[in-house]
Each structure stands twice: as C-alpha cells, then as structure tokens.
C-alpha cells in the first residue's frame, strides 16, 4: 500500500537552509529534518534541536570503566590471590593508574559510538525517503528538506507551498510502499 511520507525539497545555498529552518520551525512544525552531505554550522540552533544527552552517557560509561578497572585490579591482586611480587604492596593506586585510564577510555569510546547510533535509531536500513531522487543527492551535493506527514501541522499542498515560499526547489510530495 502506498503511503505519504511527506514533502521534500532541495536547497543549494547554506544560508537559505538556515533561514528555511527557522521559517519551518516558526510555522509550528516539529517532525522535519534537513538531510545534508556534511554538518552545517548553526543549523542545530535554527532548527531548534535540543542538546543531545550523549555526553552524559559517555561520562557514565567512563566512570564505570574506571570503577571496574580499579575493582578488578584490587580484587584479583589483594583479595582473591594475593601474591608477593618484588616485595610490592598487593594493591596500590600508582601502578593501577595505566589500566584504569585505558579501561576508562575504552568504555567511554564504546558507549559514545554505540550511544550515538542508538540515539539516532541506527542501524535501520530503511527510510521512508530512500526511493526519492532527492534522497540520493542529500549525501552528494544538495541540502534536502523533509517534512513528515505525521506532523500535526502537516497539510499536503499547503506545506509544499510553504517550502516553496522559503526558497526550496523541486518541492514534491513523496510516497513510499509500506
């Protein structure tokens, strides 16, 4: 069954993208996005994107990594099998620093990468827009705007003409097979 994905249009000028983003937001839309070949400076603010919680995930994982590393070195060396090596203490912070640091970094990195893709809902190998010709150009040389049909403010032709008034080219309503 064919379903409407929403409207989509093209931009070529980065300055116009920012103006259009503000315009779409001011018109009351929330479910819209710009598909760009590279991140545009200032587009986050123009679209009104809330800051991601990703850094907190990274911080949590980093602290977990440090805790696990210290606990592992203390428990194996001083509790489970204490072994005198070179007359050194079973556990001390100084020789534990390198591994604590490395595991902090490792867990932070894993959480950052996995967290970023998970928050983005990826991997997901299907997009409503993927069969539209605009979509192909979004990772090449154009800035593609999409307004989702599920947005409460969406109104077919009226939304399309709003995009045109904001300077979008080749505006059209996109359908997809469900």
């Amino acid at each position: 069954m064919k379903k409407t994905a929403g409207v989509s249009g093209l931009f070529h000028d980065p300055d116009q993208v920012l103006k259009a983003a503000t315009g779409i937001r001011d018109a009351g839309f929330r479910k819209f996005d710009f598909h760009t070949p590279y991140p545009l400076h200032g587009l986050d603010q123009a679209m009104g994107i809330r800051r991601t919680i990703l850094p907190w995930i990274s911080l949590g994982a980093g602290l977990l990594g440090a805790g696990v590393a210290l606990h592992l070195q203390w428990w194996t060396g001083a509790v489970d099998y204490p072994l005198v090596i070179g007359g050194k203490p079973f556990f001390a912070f100084e020789p534990s620093i390198p591994i604590t640091f490395e595991l902090t970094v490792l867990l932070t990195a894993i959480a950052t990468v996995v967290g970023m893709f998970a928050l983005n809902g990826l991997p997901r190998w299907f997009s409503k827009w993927q069969n539209d010709a605009h979509f192909t150009r979004s990772m090449d040389d154009a800035f593609v705007v999409t307004i989702d049909a599920e947005d409460p403010a969406y109104d077919g032709e009226k939304t399309a003409s709003l995009l045109e008034s904001l300077g979008a080219e080749q505006v059209r309503i996109v359908e997809y097979e469900d």
Binding site: H12, D13, P14, D15, L18, D33, F34, H35, T36, P37, Y38, P39, L40, H41, G42, L43, D44, M47, I49, T52, L54, P55, S58, L72, Q73, T76, G77, D80, Y81, L83, I85, K88, P95, P98, I99, F101, E102, L103, V105, L106, T108, A109, T112, V113, M116, N120, L122, P123, R124, W125, S127, Q130, F135, T136, S138, M139, D140, D141, A142, V144
Partner: protein
C-alpha cells in the same frame, strides 16, 4: 551546484560584522585546495577511485606485497611449530627484532590518531585531506605490531591466559603490577578505539557510496556498512558530539600508548632503559615515525589516485613541519640521555651510553642519528619542505632511522651485561628477517586494499571545509 563566491567565504574567524579588515585571516592563508572544487567534485573524485577498475600497477604491487605477507605467515608458522629458538635472540639479548618491530609498528600507528584527534581539537582544517588514510595506516600498523608480542610468547594459543585476566583452572591472575600487562591493555584499547573512530568517520561516506552504487554486490555492502545513514541533521547533531568526545578521549589515549610502551623499558632497572625521559621521548619519536610513514604513502597515493586537488603542497609542507618539530625533540632526547648518563655519576649508565655510540653497535647508532637528526634538518628550507621527491626520500630515511632507534635502545642495553663473561652480539636469522619483511608486506597489502576499496579521503569532512560550504553568519 551553484558556485559560491567570495562574499560567502567561510569566515569562522571573523567577528560579527567585522568588515574593517581588508582581508579575512582565511584569505591571507594559502588555500587548502587546488582550484575551487565543488561539492560534486569531492564526491566524484573519491567515489571514482572506489568505483573504477583496479589498474595493472595495483595488481602487480599487491601480488608482490601479498606474496611477501604470505612468506611472513609461513615463517611465523615455522617459528610456532619449531620454537622461538629459530630467532637470533639469546642470552644476554632476550629481546631483539621481535620487540624492535613491535615498537616500530606501534610508533607508526601514532600519526593517525594524532591527525584525527589532536589536530581536530586544534581546529587544523588541513587534517581532513589526510586523516582517513592516516587512520587506516594506524589500524594496519597496530595489526602488524600485535603480531610480535603474541608470537614471541612462543605458544600463542596459551597467551590469552598470560595476557588477559581470564579465570582459569590454576585460579591465578595476570600481574597487574607489571608494565607488560599495562601494555596489553594500552595497545588493545588503542586498536579498538582507533577502529571505532575510523568507522564512525566512514559511515557517512559509505552512505554516499550506497546512494551512487548500482552494482549488485557493491550496493548491499555499502548499504550494510552505512548503517542506514541518511544525513539527517538531527543525526549529524549527535554525530558531531560523538566525534568531539572521541577526539577528546583519543588525545590522552594516543599520548598514553607510547608512554606505556616506554614503561616496558623505563620501569626496569637496566642502564640505558631506566630513565624518566622515556615517555615523552617515545611519544615524540612515535609521532615522528608516524608522519614519516604517512608522507611515504600519501605522496604516492596523491600521485597515483589523482588527489592533487585535495592534497596540496601546503599539506605536505605542514606535515614536514610536524616531522621537523618532533625530529628535533627526538634529537634533544638523544642528547639529554648522554648528559644525564654523565651527570648521574653512575658508571654503568655511562658505560652503556659510551658503548652505544662507540661500541660494536656504533654503526646502528650513527645510522639512527643521521636519519633522525641530521637529514631532517633539510626541512629548514621552504623549497625542500615543498619538494615532493626530496620529502619522499627523507621520509624513507625517517622510517629507517626510527626502526634503528628501537633496535639501538633494545640491543645496546642488553648485549653487554653487568658481567663481561656474558657479553654477546645479536645477529638476526633468516626467520627474523622474513617475519619483519612479512609484516611490511601485510601492511602494504592492507593499505592497497584500503586505497582501492574504501574512500581514501573523508568525503563529508572535506565538503564541510570547502570555501562557501558553511553558512555566512555575518550576513544575518
């Protein structure tokens, strides 16, 4: 795409409405591109390499390098089935080519993360032309490096219990107080984080390839690898944050890895190894050797893959400046080691250093000094920094010199023990030579595969720094 002209120049440096300057700082700088490439040109150039057929030269070279890698694998199998007695190391030189090669390859792996993380935090835009290849090189170099500590355990299938804290039937644990174990964690973390960093950078470029692909096999591969990336700005927002965090944690990581490698030596009580200068000295040397290898490979790749638009002489010159700065640090470390040996008043320390420069290994020592300290001084001249052929030749000297540095540190400190009756002299066997040659073959094979089948330049990052690519805030 519409050509974007001067009034839209990217000017992050300008203050709001700062029109009083005749030229913006961006305009005073040498451009990072030859000509004025458009967004489409970036896509075409990089995808063109991936989508085109491999050349005859590529086939010929990869046959040679994979043959070398195959020979290396055979000699590794010979070592494993016979025992490490087939190598030349023996008392008093218990570490020789194996650890030399390990430190050599790990060092080469340092340029990639330096370029992708530290230069990113310093907003060095020229890094985008070389970061992808340098990161790939990092990963391949670390793979080569990891081979040596694993096979030098003699029984690699048991090494997992010696290297990682796994519960086992003896109920014993690894020794967390040993720098050798710190090294296991440092190198494996470095490998994992570099790989993730590299992959995150590649995802948008895989999406670009996916959108262009028509081939029955290529399309699903790019689709899978791109993870369904759509370039949505809500995704880019988190992506950029993730990239910044990765750069932030990779910066101390890259500095820690060679620091910890140097602890393998510095924490021991052997004259010539037991010095506090080792961590910064090793890190500087690692960056030095890494940039040497980046130059060796990128000058060739630039020519063979027609990347002259994006990798200009300015890039080569910048890399040469880094090479020279780190080379001077390494030269300073060589000097200060002698000063401290004299100043310490320790006769064993003094003996090791006099022996290093004038003993049986003096040929290796002076090869090292010539390659790492004397020859790079040519880069004081701008003409030489911008000359591709001379730069390439010097980069080879740097590669050779840095291998000798590790060999000199390891062999000269070991070969004359405290007891003259146990003095010795290390001579490599054919197996030593074959395994090292094999890792060079493996490294080059992996790099050739990368250069053909994976975007060699970071497409989305380069697009983001093209003139006019970013909105011009001062016009709002």
């Amino acid at each position: 795409m519409k050509r974007v002209t001067d009034k839209h120049r990217q000017d992050d440096w300008n203050t709001e409405g700062g029109g009083s300057l005749a030229l913006s700082p961006e305009e005073l700088r040498e451009p990072l591109f030859e000509g004025t490439p458009a967004l489409k040109d970036v896509t075409e150039t990089v995808s063109g390499v991936v989508e085109g057929k491999p050349t005859r030269l590529w086939y010929a070279t990869i046959t040679l390098t994979s043959g070398l890698a195959g020979w290396g694998i055979l000699t590794i199998l010979y070592t494993v089935f016979t025992g490490i007695g087939v190598w030349g190391n023996n008392q008093p030189i218990g570490w020789a080519w194996d650890i030399t090669n390990f430190v050599f390859w790990i060092g080469i792996g340092h340029a990639g993360t330096l370029i992708s993380a530290i230069l990113f935090l310093f907003r060095q835009k020229w890094r985008t032309a070389i970061n992808r290849a340098a990161e790939a090189m990092t990963i391949f170099a670390v793979i080569c490096a990891l081979i040596f500590p694993i096979i030098h355990t003699g029984r690699p299938w048991l090494a997992v219990y010696w290297l990682l804290p796994l519960p086992n039937q003896m109920e014993m644990w690894v020794n967390f107080r040993s720098p050798l174990l710190w090294d296991v964690f440092a190198v494996s973390t470095y490998f994992a984080v570099s790989l993730m960093f590299w992959f995150v950078g590649l995802v948008p470029d895989f999406a670009t390839l996916r959108n262009r692909a028509k081939h029955k096999i290529a399309k699903p591969i790019w689709t899978f690898l791109s993870l369904g990336w759509t370039g949505a700005n809500r995704h880019w927002h988190r992506y950029e944050k993730a990239y910044l965090i990765l750069a932030g944690i990779s910066t101390p990581l890259v500095l820690s890895v060679h620091t910890i490698v140097s602890f393998d030596f510095a924490v021991s009580v052997l004259p010539g190894w037991h010095t506090t200068i080792f961590p910064p000295y090793f890190v500087a040397g690692a960056i030095f050797s890494g940039f040497g290898m980046v130059l060796t490979l990128m000058i060739l790749a630039r020519k063979l893959l027609n990347l002259e638009t994006f990798i200009t002489r300015k890039h080569i010159e910048n890399m040469n400046k880094v090479l020279m700065a780190t080379g001077l640090m390494v030269g300073y470390a060589y000097g200060i080691e002698f000063f401290i040996a004299w100043y310490s008043g320790n006769p064993y320390e003094r003996f090791v250093f006099i022996n290093r420069a004038f003993g049986p290994y003096s040929w290796a020592y002076w090869t090292m000094v010539t390659c790492n300290v004397f020859i790079p001084q040519l880069f004081w001249f701008k003409n030489i920094r911008r000359n591709l052929i001379i730069t390439w030749v010097i980069s080879i000297f740097v590669n050779v010199g840095m291998w000798f540095e590790r060999f000199v540190i390891i062999a000269t400190s070991l070969h004359r023990d405290f007891l003259p009756s146990s003095w010795g002299y290390f001579i490599p066997t054919w197996v030593d030579v074959s395994i090292f040659a094999g890792t060079i073959g493996l490294f080059l094979t992996l790099f050739l595969l990368f250069a053909k089948y994976i975007p060699v330049l970071a497409i989305s990052e380069i697009k983001g720094i093209l003139p006019g690519a970013q909105p011009n805030h001062s016009h709002h």
